[in-house]
Symmetry: C2
Subunit: 285 residues, 2 copies
């Protein structure tokens, strides 16, 4: 796959297959029509028609909505729609990183097309021959993208944790980076995409961080999620993205963003503007 192939994959969706999902007056997600029809049979939780699915207005605050969505999620596991729950809650909001209207299990986020956030950190070493990037290989027993190449540190943004706090926590768990070092990570912007994924939509904003590491730094995984770490020249990372699908789908985009910001991918490339255009989602707000 080429750089643009990876970007197109993350921006690929047929919105005609989905209807908006509302909590109160706010659209919080998108639900596939078939699932929406099945959910509408459950009039204790949902209202709506062919144009919209609404969480019943009897659930009017954060706690009651969260309880209602937990009941719905349990039912979706019982009927086989979801394989299992994750046991970790994500916030649901009208805008990314906005005030949460309810929380729900991470594994139910995509089938409701809920806006989700994550933190991705490029761990790099500055050398005279250009930046080198730390790359992790995901454990083969992970449920998502087993064996794929990944960032030094990356994770979803759970309910109840700030972005910076989450980054510090993930740095400790995934690569044994002490807080004193992790706190030097620089937020550099976002990557965002809206893609069909396992019967639902991933509507994601990834907060991107760069952490410049000392030459003698050696990451060590502490939560069993990463099998090994490698330090690669940026050019090698670029070649890997441009010719394989060895990286986790969204990691490709965050690394393309890194390679652009650090001048490894340059304006002379004919696809430069198209790459930049695809790193932030357009449309369907």
């Amino acid at each position: 796959m080429s750089l643009l192939d990876h970007i197109r994959l993350c921006q690929q969706r047929d919105m005609a297959r989905y209807r908006p999902f509302f909590a109160g007056h706010d659209r919080v997600g998108w639900v596939e029509h078939g699932l929406a029809r099945r959910l509408l049979a459950d009039d204790a939780h949902f209202q709506g028609d062919e144009t919209a699915l609404r969480l019943s207005p009897v659930f009017a605050d954060f706690d009651s909505r969260s309880r209602a969505m937990a009941e719905v999620a349990a039912r979706l596991v019982a009927d086989g729609t979801l394989r299992k729950l994750r046991g970790e809650d994500f916030p649901a909001a009208a805008v990314h990183n906005g005030p949460p209207l309810f929380k729900l299990d991470r594994n139910a986020v995509a089938i409701f097309g809920i806006k989700a956030c994550g933190v991705h950190m490029n761990g790099f070493v500055r050398r005279t021959d250009g930046p080198h990037l730390w790359i992790g290989r995901r454990a083969k027993n992970k449920s998502i993208a087993p064996g794929k190449l990944d960032h030094l540190v990356a994770g979803g943004q759970p309910y109840g944790l700030g972005i910076h706090e989450n980054l510090i926590k993930e740095c400790a768990e995934e690569a044994a980076i002490p807080e004193s070092l992790a706190a030097r990570a620089i937020p550099t912007g976002i990557v965002s995409y809206l893609m069909e994924h396992e019967g639902g939509l991933r509507d994601d904003v990834l907060f991107v961080f760069d952490l410049e590491l000392p030459a003698d730094f050696q990451p060590r995984n502490t939560d069993g999620e990463i099998e090994e770490f490698m330090l690669w020249p940026a050019e090698r990372v670029l070649r890997e993205i441009d010719t394989t699908d060895n990286l986790k789908f969204n990691v490709n985009l965050v690394m393309i963003d890194f390679l652009i910001r650090h001048g490894v991918i340059r304006p002379e490339r004919p696809d430069y503007l198209e790459l930049l255009g695809g790193l932030r989602r357009v449309g369907h707000r």
Copy 2:
């Protein structure tokens, strides 16, 4: 003006006031309806109707189209539509930085809504208390934005010069930066906008560069375009953008992009995602 005000200004347009302008099968620009009607009276150069303006198909190659547009531009000066010509040609293309279909005088670019490019370079010094940015004050006799604050180096992208070459040339002219130093500038991405401007549309892509300068570097203007240079802490630049309109309109956006990439503007700001969304044009491709 706030950060978002500057961004909104650069994305402000009422496209209903314009019709597409074609050369051959390619849309190269947008022309305001009143001007389009006047141009259509000149059937030696134009064809079209209320939905589109077309350069006459008798002009079928780069040279004949360029000559035709030069005749049109001269006539627009004669009838007072344009104050004067600039004597510098810009390329016109179907996509930004794409193969040029013709060239035309820089002062006629906006009233034809032609896609234009530029180079903007953040000259900065890394200090323990954070990045400091070199800021220029534009000469009071400049035709565009006299007296406004500007980048250390910035300029439009003329016909016949590569992006990197143009940057090297502007570095020498605007700040006496030798080629050996200018060549270290890192391309970091783009800022783009589509805004109404002096009876036309500016449809601009700015190629952004960062150049880290030594602590003892002192810029010196050689072309009379910049009156003085100041080295400001990034926080002071942020405050100036957030509370004044002292910076040239598009310089605000490129500096906001710099402040985001360098972690001075952070994800905790409630307008973070809106700022990022506004730095690259959306729609009307």
